[in-house]
Amino acid sequence: MAAVLALTAVGLNLVFGVMRVVNVAHGEFFMLGAIGAWFVTHYLPVPAAMAWIAALVIAPLAVGAIAALADVTVLKRLKYDPEATIVATIGLLYIFQQAALSFYGPDARPVAPPFHLRLQLPWFGYSGYKLFVVVAAAVILLGVWLLMTRTRAGLVMRATQVDRDTARNFGIDVDRVYAGTFALGAALAAAAAVLIVPIQQAHYLMGHDPLLLSFIVVIIGGLGSLRGTLVAALVIGLSDGVISMFFSPTLAKIIATLAVALVLVFRPQGLFGAKE
């Protein structure tokens, strides 16, 4: 849970950090990733493991392409105005949701995991696939970190994040950076969904919870801070899992929301965010 939440929240935070766009449709990119995984595993005539691996590649790419298209056709035309893009992404949320309902249907459908393995420890057993999800999410997050800190593309994204006009003065095509960032953020949400869908099932309304939790994580960690996002995702993801297991999922959400309220009151920029 924490690992997948970290992937989704990093995508949301990347988009806000670089583009200053609060993407309310982010949960729908998660949903599209899960539904994409279902389509790929359902229709690709290969063994389940191979189909799932194909889904892990195809679904994020397809969702990233949809996001880039949404950026060019909607957000760019609004000149990335912060208020207007919030309204626009609410509109995108409903468009994606209704499109999924129309083409996929209202049913929750399972996606077979790439392998079945139960790790039997002396005192309890644990799903090998869930451990794999943690490792896979960590590898993807490491890849994002390397992209941001070690590559020219990452440098360009960070420069644009700091000052887009000055970035333009040095030949950076900010519109392309924004489209790429929006696509990357959506692709991360989709990758998270492909990882989690063998545990959760794909459904056209499944984007709400990841969106809410991602916002909680991003607010607690600090808008624009990837490090804060990772720490907050770990804390919120683990506490959500433990409290849901031993008490109730509702209590877990109440405590997370309370944590957001406390952060907003006492440290509005988030635990790791920089003061404006």
């Binding site: 020219r152 440098l155 360009v156 960070r158 420069a159 700091v162 000052d163 006009d165 000055t166 970035a167 333009r168 003065n169 040095f170 030949g171 950076i172 095509d173 900010v174």
Partner: protein
């Protein structure tokens, strides 16, 4: 080299530049002077494409710069050091220089040549740029612009808020660049600072070029008058 003719530009309904024209020649420093609000900074932003020209032309070696999107302008060798430096604060000195190298695909040799001009930056390559002193930040802002290997270098009040030794260093750098054939456009409030390096001067008032002159032709009285009225 860079010819600006009849340019009108502004922000939304507000017109700031009206029928502005001047020429920046290779190997010369053209100082743009004028009071606050005269339109000097807007003129530089207009050349960079950040403020679109609604009329007139901006031509660099036959290329109609005013028709290019802002991010294409530096690819043709126009570099801009904005007022207040506008470094990428959280990025290191080395990363700021790498951004400077982006548009012209300049390699390590360009960076090395730039660091020759500002050896102090070589000692600070791994340092986050927002933690540099004011003078070092200005050095980095100019070094980053020079990574573009510019034909035209535009400096907006580069000596603002700096100590005299740093002002002298920046002026010396401008003079060295002049010898390499770079056309420098210098926006400067301080008359003495501008006249130390300028070959040509354009005085702006109310969004227009009110007067142009060769620096050598300015009489001591005219210099004193300009200094007195604070252009």
């Amino acid at each position: 080299m860079l010819r600006v003719e009849g340019v009108t530009a502004g922000y939304g309904p507000i017109t700031v530049l009206r029928d502005v024209g001047f020429e920046a020649r290779a190997g010369e420093v053209t100082a743009i002077m004028g009071r606050n609000g005269a339109g000097k900074s807007t003129l530089l932003k207009c050349v960079m494409g950040l403020v679109p020209a609604t009329a007139g032309t901006i031509v660099l070696d036959g290329i109609e710069v005013h028709r290019l999107p802002a991010h294409r302008v530096p690819h043709h060798g126009v570099a801009y050091v904005p007022q207040g430096r506008r470094l990428f604060g959280p990025l290191t000195v080395a990363e700021n220089l790498s951004v400077g190298l982006y548009a012209r695909d300049g390699g390590p040799e360009v960076r090395a040549a730039v660091l020759e001009l500002f050896p102090r930056l070589r000692e600070r390559l791994g340092q986050v740029s927002s933690t540099l002193s004011g003078g070092e930040q200005q050095m980095l802002a100019i070094a980053r612009a020079l990574c573009l290997e510019p034909k035209v270098l535009m400096l907006d009040e580069p000596t603002e808020g700096l100590q005299p030794s740093m002002i002298r260093l920046i002026q010396d750098t401008v003079l060295r660049l002049k010898d390499t054939g770079v056309a420098t456009i210098l926006v400067e409030q301080r008359v003495d600072a501008a006249l130390r390096v300028a070959d040509a001067i354009a005085f702006m008032a109310n969004g227009r070029i009110a007067e142009t002159a060769r620096a050598a032709d300015l009489t001591p009285e005219a210099r004193q008058f300009a200094d007195h009225v604070g252009v």
